[in-house]
């Protein structure tokens, strides 16, 4: 079971070709997905609920069988050479699945053994320490908190020293502290050359961690891009102004801002680009004051993923 081919950083490590999945109920969860993932990169799979992220990951890891297309990991087919490909991969699934009655130490060692690796207590110790689980090593899984269980899931995925790590929504239901700890772990792994694929609903999360972002919706990859390029495209925000008194019409002096007004005339909406040098907010506020329009409250929000998808699909066609 040797990994005959080795790749250099930047070379394609996972190659997904025309991958399709139709479930037994006839639902088509993936439609001809093409995606190349390079050695050593962090790729974020960004997409709304039901986009097919988990399905894609599950196929690569061996949980779901593909209906069409193929996946090569380091040049090996995930079907014909599953032993080679699976030994290279660690998976942290979206949901926590742990045997409740065993201990942290035992379950992590068990995972390593399933992958056919000789036991290595020193390595397991270092994994548990990195994830702040060392003092819990003899605890029964059942007695751990949700966040600790999630860390145990990560420890299990890392137990066999994988070259590729899949993190399916690693930050779902995780507090800020653990989230930061998790990104530290990701950074450390990445500097050790581990290729990481993570899924997320949140643009900020992709922004924070990834080198490249693939946007997936309804089983199709809409675009794959370097993160920085993508943020420029997607980094729009919305400013909502609640007015003191209803407005009949938007004054001409504010025309350049392309404001939207609600029907009752009590709300003005301004869309701006966070990546630009000047967002135009201060001149808008000045313009409002000059026009004698007072506002009670203001609120900004990130463009929702849905809006971004609408944008993307519109740009596509």
């Amino acid at each position: 079971m040797n990994e005959s081919m080795t790749t250099q950083p930047g070379q394609t490590l996972i190659s997904i070709k025309q991958l399709g999945k139709r479930f037994s109920n006839g639902f088509e969860a993936l439609r001809g997905v093409d995606l190349d993932i390079s050695e050593g990169e962090i790729l974020a799979l960004l997409g709304p609920n039901g986009a097919g992220k988990t399905t894609l990951i599950s196929i690569i890891c061996g949980i779901v069988t593909p209906s069409s297309g193929e996946v090569l990991v380091n040049g090996h087919s995930i079907i014909d050479d599953y032993r080679i490909t699976r030994s290279m991969i660690g998976l942290v699934p979206q949901e926590i699945h742990l045997e409740p009655f065993t201990t942290v130490w035992k379950t992590v060692c068990y995972s390593r053994a399933l992958f056919g690796k000789p036991s290595d207590p020193a390595y397991i110790e270092s994994v548990l320490k990195d994830l702040s689980l060392w003092d819990k090593k003899d605890s029964i899984i059942m007695a751990l908190s949700g966040g600790m269980k999630r860390r145990v899931m990560i420890a299990k995925a890392l137990s066999h020293q994988p070259r590729i790590l899949f993190l399916d929504e690693p930050t779902a239901g995780v507090d800020v502290e653990l989230r930061q700890g998790m990104w530290k772990t990701v950074d450390r792994l990445r500097s050790n050359g581990v290729t990481i694929i993570l899924t997320t609903h949140y643009i900020e999360e992709a922004e924070e961690s990834a080198d490249r972002v693939a946007v997936i919706n309804s089983g199709e990859i809409l675009l794959v891009d370097e993160k920085d390029a993508l943020m420029r495209k997607l980094g729009k925000k919305t400013l909502v102004l609640n007015l003191k008194t209803p407005l009949a019409a938007i004054p001409d002096s504010l025309a350049e801002f392309e404001l939207q007004m609600s029907d009752d005339g009590l709300e003005l909406v301004y869309e701006y680009d966070t990546q630009r040098e000047r967002t135009g907010i201060s001149s808008l506020v000045q313009g409002l004051l000059d026009a004698g329009i007072g506002f009670r409250d203001l609120d900004t929000r990130e463009n929702s993923l849905e809006e971004i998808f609408v944008d993307l699909v519109r740009q596509d066609s």
Binding site: I84, S87, I89, L98, Y110
Partner: protein, 253 residues
Amino acid sequence: MNWRGVKAIYMSEMGRTIRTIVQSLVSPVISTSLYFVVFGSAIGSRITDIDGVSYGAFLVPGLIMLTVLTNAVSNAAFGIYFPKFLGHIYELLTAPLSFLEIVLGFVGAAATKSLVLALIILLTATFFVDVRIEHPWWMITFLVLTCISFSLLGFIIGIISNNFEQLQLVPLLVITPLVFLGGSFYAINMLPPLWQTISLFNPVLYLVSGFRWSFYGIGDVSIFASLAVVVAFCIVCLVVIWSIFKSGYGIKQ
């Protein structure tokens, strides 16, 4: 072969038994002892010898089979159903393990447990009745084959069950009647002719008969018929499991 993986599954399954030692070993021993007291001593003293064997001694092979069959099935069924139910089966599917290796781990453990249980019950029986074993090698062969084949059956039940009711229903509705009607407590020539014929379609009869023959040299059917049935049963189970894994039914989408 990923032997480390097989060993990991095997040891983890054995560990589960040790955690639940009372359920796994003590309670079958107590219940079989009660059978010996009630049927062997209390009622058995009123029953004449069967083919020159006292009723208490006659019961021993049948009772061992009864326990082995039900425990092999429930151990293996629960062993694989549990990770399926709780979702940690994902680990087995993502590991570099073949279907054969997964089966070997789970079925090996379930069969080992049933074998140990059988030996403990045999030992317990010697406290109540005079047990003699005329053909020890045949006895071991039968026991091992039975442990394996019914663990395989349990594995199948565990995989195709979608809830706890189904998991318990098959053993309750199928295994227990087959065992009770399979001559555990009587020789089939004690039955009316029609029921004798019907009994010949019960695979468990062949197991009990072959097993009893290895103890006392008496059986309802020939030892080779018994051997053929248990081997055939084993093969059928293996084929079913192989096709389940091939299609992914019950575990993979």
